[in-house]
């Protein structure tokens, strides 16, 4: 049975220095509030796992939380590059990070393998591509039936996964609709899972059962954080704040501007601030 706890407690009691952690969300439902809480609590030496480590991981790397990143697309989609991550990779600022790079297909299959309790994922991928040369975790395997050479990558099994979702019921069952991304697999692959939600309702009896993606016993803790995905979005609640993603490019380009922004919007802020950030976006959601 999932516990309902404040976000600060959920982060403090589930995340630890040196953990491998996935803050997953595929554009939609990115758990920004949970990531900001991790930054406030000042964890170190994290292995950050995510298919699309956009603004949130740029912030965590820029604040020095990351030791390693496992990813498949490190950009701010439609805007450009992740400038804090680039500064770490190209110049070692604030310190060097190790990277393990994959394709989306590999990461998606690796989470599925983790959720399925398999040691590795097998798929038809990376043919002719050069990532296999620089990433020793990309290997190949021969199909025992056809002899075809297939790509193999180790299963992803994070110590902890954070996701954001529309709602939970009072028992802790979790509902997601819209772009469902990779969140279910990332939770089922992890040892512990924390879900932030927009709201809690008594039960889901009036809703379509296909919307419930995680039964309560697959989730460790749930924290209610309205607006907790901003500047990402929550389908049915508020729209993606594309203007914020465009602005991030300028903020992240300058080390001092970045630090000032983080002080004001993360270090000196609280989970409650998220509700105000999405107020103007609610009609469009």
């Amino acid at each position: 049975m999932a516990r309902f706890v404040p976000l600060s407690q959920a982060v403090a009691e589930n995340l630890g220095n040196g953990d491998s952690v996935a803050f997953e969300g595929f554009t939609h439902l990115i758990p920004t509030a949970a990531a900001h809480e991790a930054i406030r609590q000042g964890f170190r030496d994290l292995t950050l796992i995510r298919m699309t480590p956009d603004v949130v991981y740029d912030q965590m790397i820029g604040m020095g939380l990351a030791k390693k990143m496992i990813f498949s697309y490190a950009g701010n989609p439609g805007v450009g590059l992740l400038r804090r991550m680039r500064d770490a990779v190209e110049n070692g600022f604030p310190h060097k990070i190790e990277i393990e790079e994959h394709s989306h297909a590999a990461m998606a299959n690796a989470y599925e393998a983790g959720a399925a309790g398999l040691p590795c994922a097998i798929f038809r991928g990376y043919r002719g591509a050069e990532l296999a040369r620089v990433n020793p975790n990309i290997r190949s395997i021969e199909c025992p039936f056809t002899g075809e050479s297939l790509a193999a990558v180790p299963a992803l099994r994070p110590d902890i996964t954070f996701i954001h979702a529309q709602k939970a019921d009072r028992r802790g069952n979790v509902l997601v609709e819209g772009i469902v991304g990779i969140q279910k697999e990332a939770v089922l692959a992890a040892k512990r899972a924390v879900v932030t939600v927009e709201e809690v309702v008594d039960d889901f009896s009036d809703l379509h059962p296909n919307l419930t993606i995680l039964p309560h016993w697959t989730v460790t803790d749930i924290a209610v954080v309205p607006g907790g995905a901003h500047p990402s979005y929550t389908h049915g609640y508020y729209a993606r704040d594309n203007a914020e993603y465009l602005k991030w490019d300028k903020i992240a380009a300058d080390r001092d501007l970045f630090r000032d922004w983080m002080q004001k919007n993360v270090l000196d802020a609280t989970p409650e601030d998220f509700a105000a950030r999405v107020e103007k976006l609610r009609d469009a959601g």
Binding site: F26, T27, H28, M51, T52, F71, S72, Y73, A74, G75, P77, G78, V79, L81, L82, M85, R86, V89, E90, E101, S103, H104, A105, A108, N109, Y111, E112, F123, R124, G125, Y126, R127, G128, A129, E130, L131, V134, E148, S149, G178, I179, V180, G181, I182, K184, E185, Y233, H235, A239, R240, D241, N242, A243, E244, Y245, L246, K280, L281, G285
Partner: protein, 258 residues
């Protein structure tokens, strides 16, 4: 009657849109490919199936998405599937006719780099990486590529093989056991290119209006080959231009936010 004026970028998008057919199932990359695919849908290919890697199938956005997972894509889609399913059943399962990719760097065989400029371990510029592209390039039945020409972008040798095109040319794909066609079309801001049937080297088959052969060579890092009987790309029609400009204006207004 005066001809409509247009920019090279507009010509590129419109020429790329014309390559798409009504019955295509297209895996859409963000940026220029997204614009081209939606212009096709809004003009000559209303029933085209557009798929974005966030899982949206048969989407018909009113404005261009900033990211591959904007809410607009899901709201207007026929269905939305989980990301693992997207890559396993739909792409790997062979259900995509055209993978439409952009590129930071490309060589004459349609190999694409979107990973690093310089050495992988100590890069001059760290780019976003492959995302869905390595498998889009080999599992889609055909691949179209679009980019604006420059000597930095069109190089003799790319720094990193993010997505495999025709490798070193000839039958390189077949030798690796890849049974899809690979890059069959390259649309730039000044020309249309197709691979030579035997060597697989991209050759210029059409010049956009007013473009000279010298301009193509000046903005390309390899020695350009021209096909026999190079054609001139028909200029954008008034309908194509108006559709593209309306879409861009709607998109810009939407992304500025409240």
């Amino acid at each position: 009657m005066s001809k409509p004026e247009f920019t090279p970028n507009e010509m590129m998008t419109i020429a790329a849109s014309r390559a798409l057919k009504n019955d295509d199932v297209c895996f859409v990359g963000i940026g220029a490919p997204s614009a081209a695919c939606n212009i096709a849908r809004l003009t000559h290919a209303p029933d085209i199936t557009l798929i974005y890697e966030s899982g949206t199938i048969g989407t018909a956005p009113d404005v261009l998405p900033l990211s591959i997972g904007d809410g607009e894509l899901c709201d207007t889609a026929l269905t939305t599937v989980p990301v693992p399913e997207m890559f396993r059943y739909w792409l790997q399962g062979g259900r995509i006719t055209i993978g439409f990719l952009g590129a930071a760097q490309i060589d004459k065989y349609g190999n694409i780099n979107t990973t690093v400029i310089g050495d992988y371990d100590s890069p001059k510029t760290r780019l976003p990486g492959g995302g869905g592209a390595p498998e889009i390039a080999t599992s889609s039945q055909e691949v179209y590529i679009t980019l604006a020409q420059s000597k930095r972008g069109m190089v003799e040798k790319i720094d990193f093989y993010t997505s495999f095109g025709h490798g070193d040319g000839g039958d390189h794909r077949e030798r690796l056991g890849i049974d899809t066609k690979g890059p069959t079309l390259l649309i730039t801001d000044i020309a249309i290119w197709k691979p030579d049937p035997v060597t697989k080297e991209f050759t210029v088959v059409s010049l956009h209006p007013g473009v000279t052969r010298d301009q193509v060579q000046e903005t390309c890092g390899w020695v350009v080959r021209f096909a026999d009987g190079v054609e001139e790309t028909p200029p954008p029609t008034e309908l194509e231009l108006a559709t593209l400009r309306d879409l861009k204006a709607r998109t810009e207004a939407a992304h500025k936010g409240a």
